[in-house]
């Protein structure tokens, strides 16, 4: 059967992402690319102390090009640390996002599709989880287990699964009553197959939106936990840890704390805008 381009485009297979999506994804793709390639870059300045060049200001504030974003109290290059820190910040955010997305989506699917007591149990659990502020949860686990990257990923995944579960549950609840599901059921397909093969793909769009927004939230949460000294700790570098490192130098060398904070804000801003653009893309009612 011949399908012309217009039909294929209408089916959404060949549709190109809209301009805002491309422009909003570009900086993030670039940043992640730099973070991934960081071991290949000359970033020795991130860890090597140079006591002859401590607290150099950034270029535009009277510094030199040897430290474009300045240096910290041990003469380490802020730009190099920012790039190395991005690795851990992004890795934690990405891993926690996936670790929260998978169980959250599956539990939401189960609750929405099965309904009844299963739904009630899962929904109550999600409510209970949401009632514990993520930061407090992280602090409690760190107190009993010590801090490590895997503890952070575990806690952020635990704090974010209800977000997916709630959205997916609501979406599946309405999909379940749609004619195509009844048709499949009438055709004698098993419930498990209908749920996984036919209902689940229909919620991917909304899951991507939630995942994008959650990634931003996790970057903020990681930075907050590390800022308090319970997350990433030296010699590891993350943006939150850099901020914590610089907070006591605020009056003498503002850039050590201000620059990583700015990096966090810009990345989260970019991620939120991308999430909003994706939501607009997914929801035909919001399209103009």
């Amino acid at each position: 059967m011949a399908i012309d381009a217009a039909t294929a485009a209408r089916r959404g297979r060949l549709r190109l992402p809209s301009a805002p999506l491309i422009w909003l994804s570009l900086p993030l793709v670039l940043l992640v690319g730099v973070a991934v390639l960081a071991p290949l870059l000359p970033l020795d300045g991130a860890r090597v102390q140079d006591l002859n060049a401590v607290l150099q200001p950034p270029v535009w504030a009277g510094g030199s090009w040897s430290h474009p974003l300045g240096s910290d109290q041990l003469g380490r290059d802020v730009l190099a640390r920012l790039i190395l820190g991005a690795r851990l910040t992004f890795a934690i955010a990405g891993a926690s996002m996936v670790a929260g997305l998978v169980p959250g989506t599956l539990l939401g699917l189960l609750a929405g599709y099965a309904g009844g007591p299963v739904d009630r149990v899962i929904s109550r659990l999600a409510d209970a989880q949401l009632a514990i502020p993520a930061l407090l949860l992280a602090m409690a686990v760190v107190a009993s287990r010590g801090n490590s990257v895997s503890v952070l990923v575990f806690v952020f995944a635990l704090a974010s699964w209800p977000q997916y579960a709630r959205v997916v549950r609501a979406e599946v609840g309405s999909l379940r009553e749609r004619p195509f599901v009844m048709g499949l059921r009438a055709a004698g397909l098993r419930e498990r197959r209908i749920a996984l093969r036919h209902v689940l793909p229909n919620v991917f769009g909304i899951v991507v939106v939630v995942a994008t927004l959650q990634t931003g939230t996790i970057v903020l949460a990681e930075s907050a936990v590390s800022f308090l000294g319970f997350g990433v700790t030296p010699p590891d570098i993350s943006w939150g840890q850099m901020l914590a490192d610089g907070k006591d130098l605020l009056t003498s060398a503002w850039w050590v704390a201000v620059i990583p904070g700015l990096a966090i804000a810009l990345v989260v801003l970019n991620v939120s805008l991308l999430g909003d653009a994706l939501a607009t893309e997914m929801d035909p009612r919001r399209k103009r």
Binding site: A131, P133, V142, S144, F227, G261, A265, V268
Partner: protein, 303 residues
Amino acid sequence: MVFLSRILQGIATLWLSATVAFFLVHASGDPAVQILGDSATPEALDAVRANLGLDRPLPVQYVESVGRWVRGDFGDSLRFGQSNLSMIGDRIGATALLTGTALFLAALIGIPLGMLAALHAGRLIDRVTSGIAVLGQSIPVYWLGLVMVLVFAVRLGWFPVGQFTSLWSLVLPAMALATLPLAQIARITRASMMTSLNAPYVVASRARGLSPRSVLVNHALRNSSLAIVTVVGLQAGLLLAGAVTVEAVFAWPGVGTLAIQAVQARDLPLVETLVICGASAFVVINSGVDLLCAWIDPRIRRS
């Protein structure tokens, strides 16, 4: 009827939250090692375990803990040697003052801002407001606090630095803490007002010749109030987490600073009590909001 079922639901949620907190603290690691450090002798570890009751099977500890919670007994702090609840009680006032002021500021600025944006949808003021709203939820709160200290306290000298002297020292931390809820409240107010402004009853009241002011306040805003009350309540619950970092930046003598000290000292009974109190505050606020919504909107009461 709504009242009773909402309270029962709140209690069930709270019990589950406390259970999650209990198992996270007790089953995720060896608290005794965290308390004494890696170099502790086995005898010392055993002594701590016996002292905290950690040597008994987990289900036994859990049942015993639930029994104590129901009686309102949350134990004593390891680090400070005082009752956990009384220590939290001593500090709750400072935190309530901070978060209450922040929420008040956020609603006071966020609701009119959202309304203004909705009334001038697509125009410059709408874009600026939406920009501020997205920016506000991307900035790390504690970092904003640090920058505010740098600019307003250190450089300009308008505020005292680093101590809790008068109500004047409330301004900067409350403003820093207010940004995130302000952004969310403005966003939701705008979205909900956009819906109500285009609703048939608003168009009809405008056609009937009601003054724009009356249409806006009595019809559009009133029907948006449900969404606004819900988001304000949700933000009140979320402020608890933001308060921890902001209190750390401003050395605010509240529950957040206590939580930081508790984690630093690996004071598990205190940490556990703090988590349960945090969840309780969240559940109480949200149940209150639900009841308020039922009171505002008769449709919810009848369903």
